[in-house]
Symmetry: C5
Subunit: 155 residues, 5 copies
């Protein structure tokens, strides 16, 4: 049975791991879920790599909520670079789901955005693992996770 | 037979993968094309590395359309670094074709630019694989993909 | 017996290593502590990797205090990237505890912040090693180390 | 016989590869030259690594001419990071020769600068390979490639 | 007998390599010194890695003097990232000693700063190799190399 790893953080202000698990479980039962929580986004890369190499995960989701300050943006950049490096070292996809605190206008929208982006990326994760042809069908269609999709453009 | 890997994204607003395949197929039939689509540009590095190592691709094209915001520029930078790393880990060229949404003045130009840049880089991809001497002949001639070439300068 | 590595710097203006050791020792005696001190934050990545690979540490804390200038911010970024790389090369967590000198309004607050952030991350370190379920219970609750936690948000 | 690899780009507006080869050939005949041309600077790292690992080059020159826009500066940074990574993976020097288009006031100066910087770095390349003691003799003397050298300073 | 590698540049305006060797030789004779000089700071990472892996150095100093322009700052950042990567690949410390040309108000101060920072880091290098307990004793004491130390802060 395939295994999906979910890593989230104590730093985030919304329980993104719970949303991811809820969404995935609504989509099927043909996989097992492993979950870990780490302090912040910079701890996500090794957490995902360990789930892949030590627990046999076939794909991971890395969930985080970087803060609004310049320092936080730098942390998010470092974490993203690490997540890409972890994928290259393992030949395994890790879907990064970062919600920047300053993307939302208020707490209510922040919760909504974190929930929806996580769920939409949970679907991407499921698709990458079980039905990649569904992603090919969406190539170039301006998909966004959280806020509204954008319009595709044509010649 | 040589294999060319094409990776594009659901995030892009133009079907760049389709344009790349169309251009390549117009150039010859001495190769096989593998295509995958991933959610966004940060998923491209591992997608290409997997096509190289697991499916035997001899070269790849990584096609993406980063958004106009600062956050999007950072994503593009992370993806580019990952694509270079993937190349170094596999000794295989991956031609990056990124069209920044804010390079075009309107949707019509965006479609035009994405199509033309993709096609011109598909030619580069074909040349790297089958006729590298054609690139040597163009050394230092100010080639641009999409918008007009620049003039070469002389002593 | 588990081993925890502590690396700090001569550049820092507060003895963060001592605070980390004091906090850890107050939490249990089921582990051994290894400590090294290096000149600055850019020396931390290899120091931690050596503690992991040459001395068998199961987890590390990397403690530093970057200065307030642009040059210092760049050093911190380089060090962070190195720490993530070290973790990925060893499949071992390294908890980064950086206190930027300009986060505090005066020397008194700087000492307070360095001490508290170090101690709170020492607890995270202990939790990652011995009771990871405690971190899962804190997922998405807006935990901050040093200054006050933030409020979680709900749908 | 030693092998020197030369990689340049179609993007550049001056034939830097030709200048490098011309300069090297004027210096001796105790080496063989391999040359490849790639589309842009981001393709240089893997091109050099392949010349080192697949064709046995003992040293490489990576020649490029980044454009004047912010996007171009980012590309140059990514390429430079890749070139350093390629060197570390092969324990082989790759001399980076980048001429930023906005370093020159006009096309005439751009051609002059690209030619002179390339030639001066070709001498460095030759020295690293055949007479490293000549570089030690120049330590701390403010050498610049292209524009004028700077004055050394003394206690 | 332990070996210390010294790498400096022709780009620097002060003979930092000579200062490092002079300082180290004043401290003891229980080690051998290897010295190489490269064109600029971006050539330092592989130069150090080669001294470690091909000549058996137990520690290195990487000495450079980045210029004052934005382009130079970027080069310094790339070099620093490479030096950290080189350390992680070899489990060996490389003490980076960079003097930014714009840190000094005039040529006289630049020479003074380059000399003093190099010498103070030569002592750190010696300490890391032969008496690491001396660094632990200085943990958190605000040590700076070149300009004055800063005051430590207390709870």
């Amino acid at each position: 049975m395939k295994k999906i790893g979910i890593a989230d953080t104590c730093f985030a202000r919304y329980n993104m791991g719970k949303a991811a698990i809820s969404q995935l479980q609504s989509m099927g039962s043909n996989f097992e879920i492993i979950r870990v929580t780490v302090p912040g986004v910079k701890d996500l890369p090794v957490a995902c790599k360990k789930m892949i190499e030590e627990q046999g995960c076939d794909i991971c989701m890395a969930l985080g909520m970087p803060g609004p300050m310049q320092k936080d943006k730098m942390c998010a950049d470092e974490a993203s670079n690490g997540l890409i490096r972890a994928q290259l070292m393992t030949n395994t996809h890790i879907i990064e789901v970062f919600v920047h605190e300053d993307e939302a206008r208020n707490d209510r929208e922040l919760a909504w955005l974190a929930d929806r982006r996580t769920r939409e990326h949970a679907i991407n994760t499921y698709d990458l693992l079980f039905r990649p042809e569904r992603l090919v069908a969406q190539a170039g269609t301006g998909q966004r996770q959280g806020f509204d999709d954008k319009d595709p453009v044509y010649l």
